[in-house]
C-alpha cells in the first residue's frame, strides 16, 4: 500500500505540467478571450523540434533555445495568420478554428515525425530521492520549481511592469487601449507567443516525466487535464491556473492510486461539472464576462 502522502508528492510533478499548460491557456485567454484548443498539439510540435535538433547532436542548451524560439514563432504565426481574422467572430467560430489547427498540427506532426515513440532527456536526475519516508526526484523538484518561478515571473511582468499594465488595458478593452496609444495588436501577438512558449515548456518537460515516449498524441490527455485545471482555477487567472494544475495533478493521482487509473478523465469531468455548478467562474475567476 503506497502512502497517501506519496500519491500527493507524485501528483505534484504532474500537476506542475498541467499548471504550465493551463498558464498558457490563461495568458492567451486573458488578452484575447480565446481558448487555444490546439495548445497540446503545439506543445508536441515544439517537443518534436527539440528531438530533431538533439538528433543532429546539437548541445542541449542550444537545442532548447531553438525549440523555444520555434514555440514563440508558432504562437506569432498562429495569431497573425489565423486568429487575427476571427478576432471579432463568435466564440464558437474561434473555438472551432483552434480545433481545426489542432487537427492540422497533429496530422502534420504524425506525417513528419511518424508515430514511433521518441525520447527526450530530462534536465535533472530522475533518480529517486528520499525525503523522510517519501520519495521524489531531483527532476520532479526541478519541474515544480520551474513552474512556480515561471508563474511568478509572468505574474510580476503582468502586475508590476508598464508592459503588464498595457496588456491588462488591452484585455479590458482593446479599442480604448488603442485610443490611449497602446499598440494593442502587439500585445495580442505577444500573449500568443508567450502562451505557446509556456505550453511548449510543459510538453518538453512532460516527456521524461511520464516515460511513455514522445508520440503525436502525447499531449491530448495533458491538454484535457490542463483544461480542467483552467476551469477549476478560473479562466484568465494565472494563480488559478497554478492552483488548478496542482489540484488536478493530485486529484488524478489519488483517483489512480485508490480507485482505478481507468476512471481519471471521468471523475475529473464530474469534478468540473460540480465546480461549475456551484461556482461557474471557477475558484479564482471573476465574472466570466469580464476576464480580468
Amino acid at each position: 500500500m503506497v502512502d497517501f502522502g506519496q500519491y500527493i508528492i507524485h501528483g505534484l510533478a504532474f500537476g506542475a505540467i498541467y499548471a504550465l499548460v493551463a498558464l498558457g491557456f490563461n495568458l492567451i485567454f486573458k488578452t484575447t478571450g480565446v481558448v487555444n484548443f490546439a495548445a497540446g498539439a503545439m506543445g508536441t510540435a515544439v517537443t518534436m523540434i527539440l528531438w530533431s535538433t538533439l538528433d543532429r547532436s546539437v548541445p542541449l542548451a542550444a537545442a532548447w533555445l531553438i525549440a523555444m524560439a520555434a514555440a514563440l514563432l508558432i504562437g506569432v504565426l498562429t495569431e497573425a495568420i489565423f486568429m487575427q481574422r476571427v478576432e471579432r467572430s463568435p466564440v464558437l467560430i474561434q473555438i472551432v478554428v483552434t480545433l481545426g489547427l489542432l487537427l492540422v498540427i497533429e496530422g502534420a506532426v504524425n506525417r513528419i515525425w511518424g508515430a514511433e515513440p521518441k525520447l527526450i532527456p530530462s534536465l535533472a536526475s530522475s533518480k529517486a530521492l528520499a525525503i523522510g519516508s517519501w520519495y521524489t526526484s531531483a527532476n520532479d523538484i526541478f519541474i515544480m520549481a520551474l513552474t512556480l518561478s515561471l508563474a511568478g515571473v509572468l505574474y510580476l511582468a503582468l502586475e508590476r511592469t508598464r508592459y503588464g499594465l498595457a496588456m491588462r488595458a488591452v484585455a479590458q478593452d482593446r479599442e480604448v487601449a488603442a485610443l490611449m496609444g497602446i499598440r494593442s495588436f502587439r500585445y495580442v501577438t505577444a500573449s500568443w507567443a508567450v502562451g505557446v512558449l509556456v505550453a511548449g515548456v510543459g510538453a518538453v518537460l512532460f516527456v521524461p516525466l511520464y516515460g511513455g515516449g514522445l508520440v503525436p498524441t502525447m499531449m491530448d490527455n495533458v491538454a484535457v487535464f490542463a483544461f480542467a485545471a483552467a476551469v477549476l482555477g478560473g479562466f484568465g487567472s494565472l494563480a488559478g491556473a497554478v492552483v488548478g494544475g496542482f489540484l488536478i495533478g493530485i486529484f488524478s493521482n489519488l483517483v489512480g492510486g485508490y480507485l482505478s487509473t481507468d476512471l481519471e478523465v471521468s471523475l475529473i469531468f464530474l469534478l468540473i461539472v460540480l465546480v461549475l455548478y456551484v461556482r461557474p467562474q471557477g475558484l479564482f475567476g471573476v465574472d466570466a464576462k469580464t476576464r480580468l
Partner: protein, 360 residues
C-alpha cells in the same frame, strides 16, 4: 414532401429531390460493390449524427465537443438490450434514442447554465469520459471492456438485414430511418420550438426578454439532439456489427464538427453533403497516417476564414447569382419568408457600429 423540400427556392428543391433519388437508386447502380454501399450507409449515419450536432451548434448556438459520447450511448444501448432481452429491431432503435435523450437531459441540466468555453470543455470531458467508462473494469460486465459487444442483426418479422447477405436491404433500412429523422427534425425546426432555439442562439438576453425560458429551451435542445443522435448510434451499431470504446474517439466528435462547418451552420442538407465529402476524404486518405486529420483540419480552418457559411452559403450565393443572370427555375416562387427553417446564420465578421482602428 413539403417539409423535406423547402418551398420558395425551386433550384434547391430540385437539388434535394435529386439527392434523395440518387440515394434511392444508388444500390441498384452499384449492385455487387458491397464496400461502396457500406460507405454510403456510413455517409447517411454520420450525416444524421452531424445534423443532430448542427441542431445544437447551428440552430441552438450551443457548442458540443463530445458528440461521439452521445453516439456511443445510443450504440451501446442496442447490444446491451438486444443481447439480453431479445427486443425487436424497431424497439431497439427507439430505445437507443430514448436512452440517449435521457443522458442528454441529465447532461443538459447542468450545462444548460453554461456558455462558450465552459460548455466546450464540459462537453469535451463528457465525450472522453463515455469511452473511458465503457473501457473501465467497473462497467465491464455491461460493456465488455476493450473487446466490446457483438450487435444483434436487425430483423423485421422473419427477414434479417444482415449486412453481409443483404447489404442493399440494410441500406434501405438506414435510408428510411435517416429520412424519417430528418423529416422530424425539419418539422421541429419549423415549429415554435425551433424558433425558440434560434431566438436563444441569436441573443439569450433578447430571448429572455421575449418571455422565453432560455434554460428550459437549452435543456429541450440538448434532449432532442441527443434523441436523434442515439438513433444514429443505433444504426452505427448495426452497421459495424461490433461496438467497442475505440469506435468513439475524440476525433469522431471533431469529424462531426468539421462536417457541420463544411456543410454550413444551420443547414440540414449542408450537413448531409458535408458528410459525403469528408467521408470520401477520410476513405481516400486512410492509408496515409495523419493525412486525413491534416486535410479535415485545414478544410475547417479555411472554410471558417474564407467562407464561414460553408457549402450551404456557397449554394445560396450560386442561387442568387443564377437568379441575377435570369436563369429560369432559379428565382423563388412566393415570398421567401414563408417557412424558411434554415435561417441564415449571423454574419461571422459582424462589426460593432462604432469602429476604432487599432493599427491593423
Amino acid at each position: 414532401m413539403n417539409i423535406l423540400l423547402p418551398p420558395g427556392r425551386r433550384l434547391e428543391r430540385i437539388g434535394i429531390a435529386l439527392l434523395i433519388v440518387v440515394a434511392v437508386i444508388f444500390p441498384k447502380a452499384y449492385g455487387g460493390q458491397d464496400y461502396l454501399i457500406s460507405q454510403a450507409r456510413l455517409v447517411m449515419i454520420y450525416g444524421l449524427a452531424a445534423v443532430t450536432l448542427n441542431l445544437l451548434v447551428g440552430f441552438g448556438g450551443q457548442i458540443s465537443l463530445g458528440h461521439a459520447g452521445l453516439l456511443a450511448i445510443g450504440a451501446y444501448t442496442v447490444p446491451v438490450l438486444g443481447n439480453n432481452y431479445n427486443w425487436p429491431t424497431w424497439a431497439l432503435i427507439l430505445a437507443a434514442g430514448v436512452t440517449t435523450a435521457l443522458v442528454g437531459l441529465v447532461l443538459g441540466l447542468p450545462t444548460g447554465r453554461l456558455r462558450g468555453h465552459y460548455l466546450a470543455i464540459t462537453t469535451l470531458g463528457f465525450g472522453l469520459a463515455v469511452p473511458e467508462l465503457a473501457l473501465s473494469t467497473r462497467v465491464a460486465p455491461l460493456t465488455n471492456g476493450s473487446e466490446g459487444l457483438i450487435v444483434p442483426t436487425p430483423t423485421i418479422g422473419s427477414f434479417t438485414f444482415d449486412s453481409a447477405g443483404h447489404p442493399e436491404a440494410f441500406y434501405y433500412l438506414c435510408l428510411v430511418v435517416v429520412l424519417l429523422c430528418l423529416l422530424a427534425i425539419l418539422s421541429l425546426l419549423g415549429s415554435s420550438s425551433g424558433r425558440r432555439f434560434m431566438a436563444v442562439r441569436d441573443s439569450e438576453d433578447a430571448a429572455a426578454a421575449m418571455g422565453i425560458n432560455t434554460w428550459l429551451t437549452k435543456v429541450v435542445l440538448f434532449t432532442t439532439s441527443a434523441f436523434f443522435t442515439g438513433i444514429a448510434g443505433a444504426l452505427l451499431a448495426f452497421q459495424d456489427g461490433v461496438i467497442a470504446p475505440t469506435t468513439f474517439p475524440f476525433g469522431l466528435s471533431l469529424l462531426f464538427l468539421a462536417i457541420v462547418i463544411m456543410g454550413g451552420m444551420a443547414s440540414v442538407w449542408g450537413s448531409i453533403a458535408g458528410a459525403l465529402i469528408l467521408i470520401v476524404v477520410q476513405v481516400e486518405a486512410s492509408n496515409q497516417p495523419g493525412l486525413s486529420d491534416a486535410i479535415i483540419g485545414a478544410v475547417v480552418v479555411l472554410i471558417l476564414l474564407l467562407a464561414p457559411d460553408g457549402l450551404a452559403g456557397l449554394a445560396r450565393r450560386l442561387w442568387r447569382l443564377a437568379a441575377g443572370l435570369g436563369i429560369p427555375w432559379s428565382a423563388g416562387v412566393g415570398p421567401r419568408l414563408r417557412r424558411q427553417p434554415a435561417a441564415e446564420p449571423p454574419e461571422a465578421g459582424e462589426r460593432p457600429p462604432v469602429e476604432v482602428r487599432h493599427g491593423r
